[in-house]
Amino acid sequence: MPDQEQPPPLGAQEDAATRAVTVGAATPEPDAARSLWSDAWHDLRRNPVFLVSALLIVFLVLIALWPGLIASQDPQRCQLGRSLQGPSSGHWFGFDTQGCDVYTRTVHGARASIAVGVCATLGVALLGAVVGGLAGFLGGFWDTLLSRLTDVFFGIPMVLGAIVFLSMITLSGIWPVVLVIAALGWPQIARIARGSVITVARNDYVQAARALGAGNTRMLLRHITPNAVAPVIVMATIMLGTFIALEATLSYLGVGLRPPTVSWGVDISAASDGMQFRNAPHILLYPAAALSVTVLAFIMLGDAVRDALDPKLR
């Protein structure tokens, strides 16, 4: 399948229709990656949405790596006597049910939450896009095989899978949770990616490229992926948020992150337990707000990247 000897074409900048022809002409071009990905980068650097979201993400990552920068207390230092006390000077976000400082826990929760969200999303998106993309692109027997494999995994309820896996896996840290989400979350993306690839593969320029003898690898990387990737990115950016929230559900069921790990999910589910937020909304508000900002940053980033990758928007 790989056809390295044939240098990839230039001309990803052109309009889709003309592009198909250029592709077919197979004009030699030494640095192939430049045509699409470096162009995207060129666009991105000028996109304010990208800049804002990137800054936000850098900030969040910094906090995740060194929470001590802005929160000096110990998130595990909790005194029940201060249970549910509202915000005050020195403790801006108030205290939760256990009497822990909500501000400290929100800051310290960034690490596990963002790590779970990003890693699980990457895992799901890669696995799903590869399996689904190949199924849609190769068609025929492979499509059948991969699609049916997807179906098998689709049938497993997430909660069941999580309870089974996580009561058997004894790894510590975030990895068991990431593994479970990746192992059970990919079929959704796979279906989307397959549908998207099928649509794109029927486009004239792709047909033209194929007719002109473009190899499989190049077809996939040059023509299909950039055009079919949009739905996957959109799904992935939202999934990131839902995975952080899913971690909360799993933690709540006792199969998520093991104590003493602090995460937004753990705090949100603790606040939700039996409507405690009815009396003390602050215990829900802050971790949920942190989660929102993170998801917002990634959705904006996803949008910007998607736009930059879309040749039709140039």
Partner: protein
């Protein structure tokens, strides 16, 4: 085929609901005495975990129904918890081992057949027999011949069909012979497993399960499994505690919080076991229509005494130190809103002083003393590996919250935020498998809901060597000897004194540390009056009146 079953089913349910709606709609003003009328209590219910057979029920939701449709030889007084004669006219013994039971005349099952001595003997034989795999068959283990119908070893076949210790004398008399003297045995007879069963139970078992027939103050009018049950007053009931309302409609809720919301919205009259987190608002929501009273439940934390870290002198010091590091007062007030009471012994206040409850028996070990705790643990060479875990299942009952609070309390006392960590286990089944498989390495949750209000029930099954619920693997010759002596005692006072001595051995050894006594809670609507809970935290439905 499926469609037709479904239609029939939904049809039936719709019918029930229509009746129920009609009934509740005209409920106002009819009073409790109305003949065809509508003073029905709409109460929350949970799906019973086992088929509704007397000897196959070991949890509150099934027990709730059995308490309404059955009356056995004894009944526990809803207020004092004392075992009083219900169907029993007399239970006599000379040697604390052979009992002659005489039952009252005039009792009938709701299908019209009389309740006789045979109804009891047949029911107990059924409950005990291994082939029927009844969850609560251990209740019959005291009766002679139990080993033959219910061999202990896994896979062994029964060698007899009936308990040799049971014998029908005449329609109203039967004798029971126990394997060894047990002076308080008659007091255990209020438990549902000892209920009599009608011939219909044996003739057509499936039909009986679809609509159980009993001899209690209520009879079942209709039953849609895992959805609802409608009980009406049994007018032929021969007991004293006749129902003061026309009936009860039990509704299964998927979540107690939902039931609570439904109560607020006026669609439900009675919810027992109010979710802890709603308690902060209950004053606003319900005013004084809220009950919070002691029940026969104690929560403890046990230690794996089979693990070398927790053995010996140092282990004992560690256990005592950890117990002293837990601020029970603060946790019961902040987390449980006073629906738990800090525990000072191994029993329950519902037993009463006369029944063996002794406040403060646990001594200093149950008092919060962070400094003392730190010293003791240091003396013992510190926690094993510098830390300890607290393990429990987290799928039911908001365990996570108090576990966090207990660990935080220990951490604060020891001034080390990493000393105690919570170890949540996803399912109850998994947790119990690990506990009974002796796989624990640190503290783990243990709780006990009494089967009958006797001090014996709080001690023997939990701490006697190799007893069925001795999860910590505790074994003390002195404790076992005192229990044996207590059981053989001919006077109740003497027995209770011996039990308390045994309990003091526990307080010294601390195989488990008492945390708190759990209360029963209930909230009810303005329509109801006379709502109370019995010591098993089950509402006394017969006494409820409806406006």
């Amino acid at each position: 085929m499926r469609g037709s079953t479904r239609n029939r089913l939904t049809g039936a349910v719709a019918g029930v609901m229509a009746v129920a709606l009609a009934v509740t709609a005209c409920g106002g003003g009819d009073g409790s005495g109305g003949g065809g009328g509508g003073s029905f209590v709409r109460a929350s219910w949970g799906d019973p975990q086992h088929p509704l057979e007397p000897a196959n029920t070991n949890e509150v939701q099934g027990g709730k129904v059995l308490d309404m449709i059955f009356r056995g030889l004894k009944r526990y007084n809803p207020e004092t918890g004392e075992a009083e004669d219900a169907m029993a006219e007399s239970i006599e013994t000379d040697d604390q081992r052979t009992f002659t039971v005489t039952i009252e005349d005039g009792w009938t099952f709701s299908d019209g057949t009389p309740v006789t001595a045979k109804s009891y003997v047949d029911a107990w034989n059924y409950g005990a027999h291994i082939d029927n795999a009844q969850i609560a068959s251990y209740f019959f283990q005291f009766i002679e011949g139990y080993d033959e119908v219910h061999p202990v070893d896994e896979g062994a076949e029964a060698t007899a069909d009936t308990l040799s210790g049971l014998e029908v004398v005449d329609d109203h008399t039967f004798t029971v012979r126990l394997t060894e003297p047990f002076s308080l045995w008659p007091e255990t007879l209020g438990y549902a497993a000892y209920a009599p069963l009608p011939q219909a139970f044996f003739d057509d078992h499936d039909a009986w399960l679809d609509k159980p027939i009993g001899n209690g103050p209520y009879k079942i009018d209709s039953y849609s499994r895992s959805q609802s049950m409608r009980l009406v007053r049994n007018d032929a009931y021969a007991g004293d505690d006749k129902a003061k309302n026309d009936g009860v409609e039990l509704r299964v809720y998927t979540d107690n919080n939902t039931a609570y919301t439904d109560l607020q919205a006026g669609n439900l009259d009675l919810i027992d076991d109010v979710p802890a987190s709603q308690l902060a608002n209950i004053g606003n929501d319900l005013g004084d229509r809220y009950i919070n009273q002691p029940a026969g439940i104690i929560q403890t934390v046990s230690f794996p005494l089979y693990d070398k870290d927790w053995k010996g002198e140092d282990g004992a010091k560690l256990r005592r130190g950890l117990s002293m590091a837990i601020d029970r007062e603060e946790i019961t007030s902040q987390i449980f809103h006073d629906t738990r009471t800090p525990a000072g012994d191994f029993t329950s206040p519902v037993l009463g002083e006369a029944g063996g409850y002794k406040e403060g028996l646990c001594g200093d070990a149950c008092d919060y003393d962070p400094e003392g705790a730190r010293e003791l643990i240091e003396e013992a060479g510190g926690l094993p590996g510098g830390k300890v875990t607290l393990t429990s299942n987290v799928d039911t009952g908001s365990h996570r919250q108090w576990m966090d609070a207990v660990c935080n309390s220990i951490n604060n006392a020891l001034n080390d935020t990493g000393a105690c960590t919570v170890n949540p286990v996803p399912t109850f089944a998994d947790f119990r498998n690990r506990v009974t498989g002796h796989e624990m390495t640190g503290m783990f949750r243990t709780g006990w809901q009494m089967d009958y209000p006797l001090i014996q029930n709080f001690l023997q099954p939990l701490y006697y060597t190799d007893a069925s619920s001795n999860d910590s693997g505790y074994s003390s010759e002195e404790f076992d000897r005192l229990i044996d002596e207590a059981n053989a005692a001919s006077e109740e006072d003497e027995a209770i004194e011996k039990f308390q001595q045994a309990e003091e051995v526990l307080a010294e050894d601390l195989p488990a540390i008492p945390l708190w006594y759990q209360n029963g809670t209930a909230g009810y609507s303005e329509r109801l009056d006379g709502v109370k809970l019995n010591p098993f935290s089950v509402p006394v439905f017969t006494d409820i009146t409806v406006d």
